[in-house]
């Protein structure tokens, strides 16, 4: 257990970033493809510490070796956006399917809605034929979830996101994967973890329902339950989310995210 003096200056965003990095533990030499500010920073952190084999994108069309994050994708696109980057591989959008369909990627996606089995929606809210709110679309979620390891990042944990039932299943959840057959059509399905601003979650329950895996420091079980619109599995013992090590903190502050963009995505609770 850490002492209070270890916690000085550690932000909620630091804890979230470490939790994201932990999602990639054990992945080896695959494409870590985190979408969003803290996921990109967390992916870099994992590579710079315990998962050196990971490959990371610059948010556009290359895989780069740099630990630092870039504010991409560049609005202009183009080769000028390569300035200062150490390119490992040219990775245009179409190449992504080669990684995804061959099982060499772990993506961290966002979700406008997610249910207890991890079914994700970021296509539309309401009637799919005439939605109340049109969102992005299916994007690559069906292909990502059926082919590769997938985790989710929810920076704003609330009952409108963690819902009883999603309006559209873009990313496949555990119940549907089981129905397809984990030894059959869904044999490459691997929905691993959900990280939110309140805690971390997995599906390590007998019926693959979402389970509270750890609480970020300062967050109570009651706070998580109140922010979750479905019945969450809550074990008797709930560990605290891992804190960043001094080395990790230094990397985050000095190299990976010196501008502190992670703290803008998840501000510290008042």
């Amino acid at each position: 257990m850490s002492t209070d003096s270890d916690r000085v200056g550690i932000t909620r965003a630091d804890v979230c970033t470490v939790a994201i990095a932990e999602c990639f533990r054990g992945d080896g030499e695959i494409l870590a493809n985190p979408i969003g500010t803290i996921p990109v920073i967390g992916g870099r952190l994992a590579r710079a510490t315990f998962e050196p084999g990971l490959c990371c994108t610059d948010g556009e069309a290359t895989l780069i070796a740099d630990d630092t994050t870039f504010p991409g994708p560049e609005s202009s696109g183009g080769l000028t956006s390569l300035d200062g980057k150490t390119v490992e591989y040219w990775n245009p959008y179409r190449s992504m399917f080669d990684w995804v369909w061959s099982g060499r990627r772990h993506i961290i996606m966002g979700a406008t809605q997610i249910d207890r089995y991890g079914n994700q929606n970021f296509a539309a809210i309401g009637d799919p034929k005439q939605p109340k709110v049109q969102l992005l679309g299916y994007r690559g979620a069906p292909g990502n979830t059926i082919n590769d390891t997938t985790s989710y990042w929810i920076p704003n944990h609330n009952p409108k996101v963690f819902v009883e039932r999603v309006d559209t299943v873009t990313g496949v959840g555990w119940d549907r994967a089981v129905a397809l057959g984990l030894d059959g059509p869904a044999r490459y399905f691997d929905l691993r973890r959900v990280v939110s601003n309140l805690g971390t979650f997995d599906f390590a329950t007998p019926d693959n329902r979402m389970r509270l895996r750890s609480l970020h420091p300062g967050v109570s079980v009651g706070e998580v339950l109140a922010a979750t619109g479905f019945e969450l599995a809550v074990p008797d013992e709930i560990p605290e989310s891992r804190l960043p090590t001094p080395d990790e903190l230094l990397l985050l502050r000095e190299v990976i995210d010196p501008e502190g963009r992670r703290n803008a995505e998840v501000p510290d609770p008042a």
Partner: protein
């Protein structure tokens, strides 16, 4: 115009529109708000074409055509303006029920175009299994592997096109073209999937074939004249989307475009200012708009 003259395929935006018919399925190249053939899209907006089915990795091409009332159906995996995450004109069309849609995973778009280009009815994949794509897109079917595994897979149908329209950085007059930015996106597949006679590109600069060698690198010369029936010389033709490295996205203009989705009045004002005019006037206005104080300065030739 005749398009059949082999050594010179130069046409205008309006010539391209003249080859299209209401009800056609048109693929539009680029990605999000990047390297979109906007000058041809604007020409479609000015035309009396209607009921188009648009296949696109969608950006303002699809949004603009929706607000102009040209779209019957959208075939897409996403629609975004990049710096503005959700395309407001597309959202408005969907939320008002003005258009039908056939949503897809972006990998399915890839396979659908590839199947059309290779002239096979479908290509198999796991993409889509377990998702609501089968609820929302009635064109999708599954197929059982004829081999011992007997696996059930998604049979992504060929995306049958009537036309394809893309914007490239450089070309010759015969349709050999190259991109200079980081990504070709799906331009080559769209042109290969569309039928001969209605495969169009616009380009920033048309050069003699021999001079293309001085542009970009060998590996960027991915568009062959065998894929192209008409070439539009369109400097600034991708505006306001990015056309790296020739020019970045015009973020200020894009914000103005996005704001035009807020009300019918805002749309009318945007349309009057930027759409109900010939492309040459549009390009001149953009240049004047971008150089305040230089509005009646240099001559444009």
């Amino acid at each position: 115009m005749p398009l059949g003259i082999i050594d010179d395929k130069l046409v205008t935006e309006d010539d391209v529109v003249g080859e299209l018919r209401s009800g056609m399925t048109v693929a539009i190249g680029g990605w999000g708000s990047r390297r979109k053939p906007m000058s041809i899209v604007r020409a479609i907006v000015r035309s009396d074409l209607t009921d188009l089915t648009i296949v696109s990795h969608g950006g303002p091409d699809l949004g603009l055509l929706c607000s102009a009332g040209k779209v019957r159906k959208a075939v897409y995996a996403f629609v975004t303006l990049d710096s503005i995450a959700l395309e407001p004109h597309f959202r408005k069309a969907r939320q008002s029920g003005a258009i039908d849609d056939e949503p897809l995973d972006e990998g399915l778009v890839h396979l659908g175009l590839q199947a059309a280009a290779w002239r096979v009815p479908f290509l198999p994949t796991r993409v889509g299994l377990g998702s609501d794509l089968f609820r929302d897109n009635p064109t999708l079917r599954t197929v059982t592997s004829p081999y011992d595994d007997r696996e059930e897979l998604v049979a992504m149908p060929a995306l049958e096109l009537d036309a394809a329209i893309c914007h490239l950085n450089r070309s010759d007059a015969r349709g050999n073209a190259l991109y200079l930015g980081p990504d070709l996106y799906w331009d080559d597949l769209m042109l290969q999937a569309a039928p001969t006679g209605r495969r169009f590109i616009s380009t920033e600069k048309v050069l003699p074939t021999a001079e293309l060698a001085g542009e970009g690198c060998l590996h960027q010369r991915r568009i062959s004249r065998m894929m192209v029936d008409g070439v539009v010389a369109a400097p600034g033709g991708a505006h306001f989307t990015s056309c790296a490295p020739d020019y970045p996205r015009d973020e200020e203009f894009q914000a103005q475009y996005a704001a035009a989705a807020r009300s019918p009045e805002a749309w009318d004002a945007f349309r009057t200012a930027w759409l109900d005019l010939p492309e040459t006037d549009y390009q001149r206005k953009i240049r004047e708009d971008r150089k305040p104080g230089n509005a009646d300065g240099q001559e444009d030739t």
